[in-house]
């Protein structure tokens, strides 16, 4: 039986954010992390570099090798939590160990969504969210001399996989249910740019197409083709299934902690159970633009949530400032960034766009306030200035709307805000 | 030199200025104004200079006699009424306040005046309203009942001057030459006759209508009130407005 002042289930970015925050406040309290992977926390968004061989798993480490020692963290990995008992303040691991805690953080992240496609569990069908996924994929490619890949899911993860596969020499086809790529990350015009990029690099795209079945190779179990609802059959040596992620909230749900889609949390990232906090992809934190809680499974938000949870766990009360959806993507060297409500569904928004050679910028305003942006190519430079406008709800007159659209400079901000920025009062 | 003799009734003070040196007289006035006196009557004034120059507050001053040069020079606020003639430099570089002269005034009346109003019932001397100017809401006003001498309104940069010629005989011309030479701001309204050669070459001539007419009527009525004259009768005369043709009269004067 062990007791930790702070116990964290999950060993990714939210956990690291929490650890760093806890140690800002409390240098001595005992702290342990339960991680199911055999690695220190690593950069999940960069795993495609493993596939291309540009990085080793060690190089993917999110913090320096000394991190856990420096932070006095006991890393319990690879081990998996089986149950949480908030009443007894106890976490039971699958190996039977019982860990008692003073404060608990659930940072169990998300899991790959497996759509109802026949043969989804067939060998040769891979996810693309962990080092293990990539290792398995890589091993498969080498063992079978794989040449043709089908990526199901034209979202961020699927396209990262597609680009990496292409770069190591495979022929790649992307199947996307929606009628465009990155429908959840970009507006239609930016999506079209990305589609053009993929097509120009020889990737065949099936948009508005549903994969119906992963069919085996003749005489083998492993996948040999993807059958689409439209009747096409795409022969392949492997499939990457990237149809999104969902919060891994079972532990919390089974412990009687309130879960909606993800674990419900208040502004301190506290769950419905006493001294139990949740952060990262598993949690439903506050979206300041949508003005509601919802899971936003992106890396920077996970850190902020972990950090806020950590500060509160360590006794320094801190309200979560709220984040919103934002994505920084880059394919074939072309960057694309979106923030907030860049594709407003209803009336009442004002959209301004500026486009040129290798340059696309879209700003979305609600009244005087910037609420969303999309930038492609060189338009991404200094776009955080605009992100700051969204976050700080800086009122922008017609004059400054135009200035901001033309250039993300401080001179594009109203004087008072410009001065505050220069003084460093973000 | 005598001390100024004072007699006081509430905040009305009468000062006998006979034989009082101007410095003492002005010092006396300054002391009275500092004490909060609101009305001062100066009797037997005979050539004492700078009356009103160093008074910081609005105060009513009535003068019996002939004040000396630079009456109200740099003046900022007082209201002076002279029952007699004024000498040279009346209202020199005046900033605000009012001067009313029931007789004539000498040379350089209203020179460089920036604000306030001056009303002269009779004639004025040479160089009147030279370099008068204006600034924001400060638009000086000078109304002359009689006529003026040469260099009238020379270098004028702002403000409003009205020359009424009330005492000219029928068919008699105003006498001043070089009227408005180098003028680059403000306006001069002239009642009565001047010939072209009398005007500076930077000056344009036009009739008085609309807003100009309204301003003129206001000025003339104000003038007439001070001297119990018939404003309508005066306004029935023939007026012309002199205006600066160029804001930058010497714009092409230099080789850069």
């Amino acid at each position: 039986m062990a007791f930790y002042d702070y116990l964290i289930v999950g060993n990714s970015v939210a956990a690291v954010g929490a650890v760093e925050a806890i140690r800002e406040v409390d240098r001595s309290g005992s702290l342990a992390i339960v991680g199911e992977e055999p690695h220190p926390a690593y950069s999940r968004p960069a795993i495609s570099y493993l596939l291309t061989g540009e990085k080793t798993p060690e190089q993917l480490a999110y913090r320096d090798p000394d991190f856990y020692r420096r932070m006095a963290v006991e890393l319990l990995a690879p081990r998996r939590a089986a149950a949480v008992d908030p009443a007894r303040r106890r976490v039971t691991l699958e190996d039977g160990a019982c860990l008692d805690y003073g404060k608990l953080l659930l940072a169990t992240g998300g899991r790959r969504v497996t759509p109802p496609i026949a043969g989804a569990d067939r060998p040769g069908v891979f996810g693309f969210i962990s080092i293990a996924d990539v290792a398995a994929l890589k091993e498969h490619i080498e063992r079978h001399q794989a040449r043709r890949a089908v990526v199901v899911g034209g979202g961020l993860i699927g396209l990262q996989a597609a680009e990496a596969l292409l770069r190591i020499g495979l022929t790649v086809t992307v199947v996307e249910l929606m009628d465009r790529l990155l429908a959840l990350n970009l507006d239609r015009r930016a999506s079209a740019t990305v589609e053009e990029l993929f097509r120009s690099h020889g990737v065949e795209l099936f948009l508005g197409a549903a994969a119906k079945e992963f069919r085996p190779r003749p005489g083998e179990e492993r996948v040999g083709a993807v059958a689409l609802a439209g009747g096409e059959e795409l022969p392949c040596d492997l499939v990457v299934l990237a149809a999104g992620v969902a919060p891994r909230a079972e532990l919390a749900r089974e412990a009687g902690i309130r879960v909606v889609k993800g674990i419900a949390v208040d502004q301190h990232l506290a769950t419905s159970a006493p001294d139990v906090y949740a952060a990262g992809d598993v949690a439903e934190a506050y979206d300041f633009l949508e003005e509601r809680a919802r899971p936003i499974p992106i890396w920077p938000n996970a850190y902020h949530e972990g950090r806020t949870a950590g500060l509160n766990m360590a006794g320094r009360e801190r309200s979560y400032r709220g984040e919103t959806a934002m994505n920084a993507l880059h394919f074939f060297g072309t960057p694309a960034i979106s923030v907030g409500q860049y594709d407003p569904p209803q009336e009442g928004y004002e959209v301004r766009e500026l486009a040129g050679e290798g340059f696309y910028r879209r700003l979305v305003f609600k009244g005087e306030v910037l609420v969303g942006l999309v930038c492609v190519g060189d338009a991404v430079d200094r776009c955080g200035v605009a992100t700051g406008c969204i976050r700080d709800r800086i009122p922008l007159s017609e004059e400054f709307k135009e200035k901001l659209l033309a250039d993300f400079r401080f001179l594009s901000l109203p004087e008072e805000w410009r001065r505050r920025r220069i003084r460093g009062e973000a | 030199m005598a001390q100024a003799k004072l007699s006081r009734e509430d905040d009305h003070v009468t000062v006998d200025a006979r034989d009082v040196y101007y410095r003492q007289l002005n010092e006396t006035l300054r002391g009275l104004v500092q004490d909060g006196v609101g009305h001062i009557r100066l009797e037997h004034v005979f050539g004492q200079r700078y009356i009103g120059t160093n008074l910081a507050r609005p105060v009513d001053i009535e003068i019996d006699g002939i004040p000396g040069n630079d009456l109200g020079a740099f003046m900022d606020g007082p209201r002076i009424e002279v029952h007699g003639n004024a000498q040279d430099g009346t209202g020199n570089t005046m900033n605000s306040g009012r001067i009313v002269v029931h007789g004539n005034a000498g040379d350089i009346t209203a020179m460089s005046m920036r604000g306030g109003a001056i009303f002269i019932r009779g004639d004025v001397g040479y160089r009147t309203a030279i370099h008068m100017k204006e600034y924001r809401d400060k638009v000086p006003l000078l109304v002359i009942g009689g006529t003026a001498q040469d260099f009238f309104g020379e270098y004028m940069a702002g403000g409003m001057v009205v020359l009424l010629g009330l005492d000219l005989a029928a068919g008699e011309f105003h006498r001043a030459s070089f009227i408005g030479t180098g003028m680059h701001g403000g306006a001069i309204y002239i009642r009565g006759e001047v010939q072209d050669y009398q005007l500076g070459k930077e000056v344009g001539v036009q009739g008085v209508e609309g807003e100009d007419r309204r301003r003129l009527e206001e000025a003339v009525r104000s003038f007439a009130d001070h001297f119990d004259l018939d404003a309508a009768g005066i306004l029935a005369g023939n007026f012309r407005k002199l205006y600066p043709k160029y804001l930058r009269p010497y714009g092409t004067h230099y080789a850069y």
């Binding site: - | 200079r49 910081a56 600034y135 009269p249 004067h253 230099y254 080789a255």
Partner: protein, 499 residues
């Protein structure tokens, strides 16, 4: 019309050193330098260069040498480049040739023909590092008698201005110089215990905190003159004339009358600010007296009133009149006096050297027994502390310096002040250029200048065995002339060296 004027300066760019950083391009306010992206090279439009050296000073690799343009007409002692250039400029425009700064003609500089005395053996020199040396100077009329009882002066003295060194900053109007330049001079004057003069262009509200070290000017334009202007300053100066342009007025062109300049001068934005040649209320010494006393009345006799004239042929007689008219300080501005804008023909040809005017005025006032009734301040071409101390020995109470102060804050005497584009931000109307003067730095540089000159003056005084500048004042026996004609020695009232 094709101009026949050739460029005055040559831009020599070492292409190996030029890193295309663009600093010369952004620093030249005349758009001389420009970058050609096609050839990746920085080029120059030489005809625009004024030789101000801004680019050369700021070029991080010292790639630039700006030199006199080597073009040559046929050599001619009479028809020199300058004459031909001015003729062409006038043939181009039909205008009066303008210039800035002081007379640049090789008129005799008498300071360079006067040498100072020093103590040897018979009277010991004083070590200024050991002994107190006094440069304190008081400007104002001195009474014939002072009753001192128990160490205190009884009764009231005419108003006096205390200077900790006999060097003041000349009149330079806001509008002619930038706000930052004027601010720096006022701050430096305040810090060092001397005075700076506003010039006739008004006095900005923000600068009135330096009132105790400010002289305000009343000139023919009367810009911004009101009771508070007069009363918030330490001294009032009536400007009759200026050494660079005796007898003429000033025209600040409308485009320089920006909103802040208009506010300060109290005139509408964009109109020409014309200062007539004479003050039209002064056509005689009697009229001058009238204005002097009007100003004294307006300031309750608490401020000294100075009268500044250009040094002209009959300066001595005029100065006598000025003193008799009641001025507390007579200011003489010599032919080498500076200006922001003056017709070149006048700057170069009208007036007399300050050395002669000073000597003549001091002599005349002494002869008339009225020298103590006013202080004498001289201006116009002082270049160093040697000039200053010689002026004191010739009879001046203090000097005004203009160009040295401007040089201290960056001026290179390129003489293009009148364009309003001064690349050093000194005589610039454009707020982009005014920012080039950091008032903190400029103030420090000006204070350093005053400090350095004051040290030097103390050294020279000590060498003469004198421990107070007061003792040198008018003491022409400490001066000797070198290379001067009899008449010059006579006017200067000094003996030839060796006598």
């Amino acid at each position: 019309m094709k101009s026949y004027v050739l460029p005055e300066f040559w831009v020599d760019r070492d292409d190996y050193r030029c890193i295309r950083c663009g600093v010369c391009v952004n620093q030249c306010s005349y758009d001389t330098h420009y970058y050609d992206p096609e050839d990746d090279v920085v080029r120059a439009r030489e005809e625009r260069c004024t030789g101000c050296q801004r680019c050369a000073v700021f070029c991080p690799t010292n790639a630039l040498t700006i030199r006199t343009h080597p073009y040559e007409y046929r050599p001619n002692a009479n028809w020199r480049k300058e004459n031909i250039r001015d003729l062409n400029r006038q043939a181009d425009t039909g205008g009066v040739v303008l210039t800035g700064m002081g007379n640049d003609k090789p008129l005799r500089i008498y300071w360079d023909h006067l040498v100072l005395n020093a103590s040897q053996v018979t009277n010991p020199s004083i070590d200024p590092l050991r002994e107190p040396m006094e440069l304190d100077t008081f400007l104002g009329a001195k009474p014939d008698q002072v009753d001192v009882t128990c160490g205190r002066v009884q009764g009231s003295l005419p108003p006096q201005i205390h200077l900790s060194t006999p060097i003041m900053f000349s009149a330079m109007s806001y509008g002619a110089v930038s706000y930052q330049a004027q601010l720096s001079m006022m701050r430096a004057a305040g810090e060092y215990g001397t005075l700076a003069n506003t010039g006739e262009g008004g006095w900005r509200r923000e600068l009135r905190v330096y009132g105790a070290s400010t002289i305000v000017q009343v000139a023919s334009g009367r810009f911004g003159v009101d009771r508070s202007y007069l009363n918030e300053a330490a001294m009032v100066e009536i400007k009759i004339g200026q050494g660079a342009k005796p007898g003429i007025g000033g025209h600040l062109p409308g485009e320089k009358v920006t909103p802040p300049v208009a506010e300060t001068r109290m005139i509408p934005v964009g109109t020409d600010a014309l200062s007539p040649a004479p003050q039209h209320d002064i056509y005689s010494i009697e009229d001058l007296s009238m204005l002097i006393y009007a100003l004294k009345e307006a300031t309750h006799y608490e401020k000294p009133v100075a009268v500044k004239i250009s040094a002209v042929h009959n300066a001595a007689a005029i100065a006598s009149g000025i003193v008799r008219a009641g001025a507390d300080v007579v200011v003489l501005d010599g032919i080498r006096g500076g200006t922001g804008a003056a017709p070149k023909i006048i700057r170069d040809n009208v007036g007399i050297p300050i050395e002669l005017a000073l000597a003549a005025v001091d002599q005349r006032l002494r002869e008339e027994g009225i020298r103590s009734r006013a202080s004498v301040v001289v201006a116009g071409g002082f270049r160093n502390s040697g000039d200053v101390i010689k002026a004191i020995a010739l009879g001046a109470d203090a000097v005004y310096i203009g160009t040295p102060a401007l040089v201290a804050i960056g001026c290179t005497v390129c003489q293009k002040c009148y364009t309003g584009k001064c690349p050093w931000g000194i005589t610039a109307a454009d707020p982009r250029l005014g920012k080039r003067i950091n008032p903190d730095i400029a103030t420090q540089r000006l204070v350093n200048l005053l400090r350095g000159w004051s040290f030097e003056i103390k050294e020279m005084l000590g060498g003469m065995g004198i421990n107070a500048i007061e003792s040198l004042r008018g003491n022409r026996l400490h001066l000797r002339g070198v290379g001067l004609a009899e008449w010059e020695l006579e006017v200067l009232g000094v003996k030839g060296a060796g006598r």
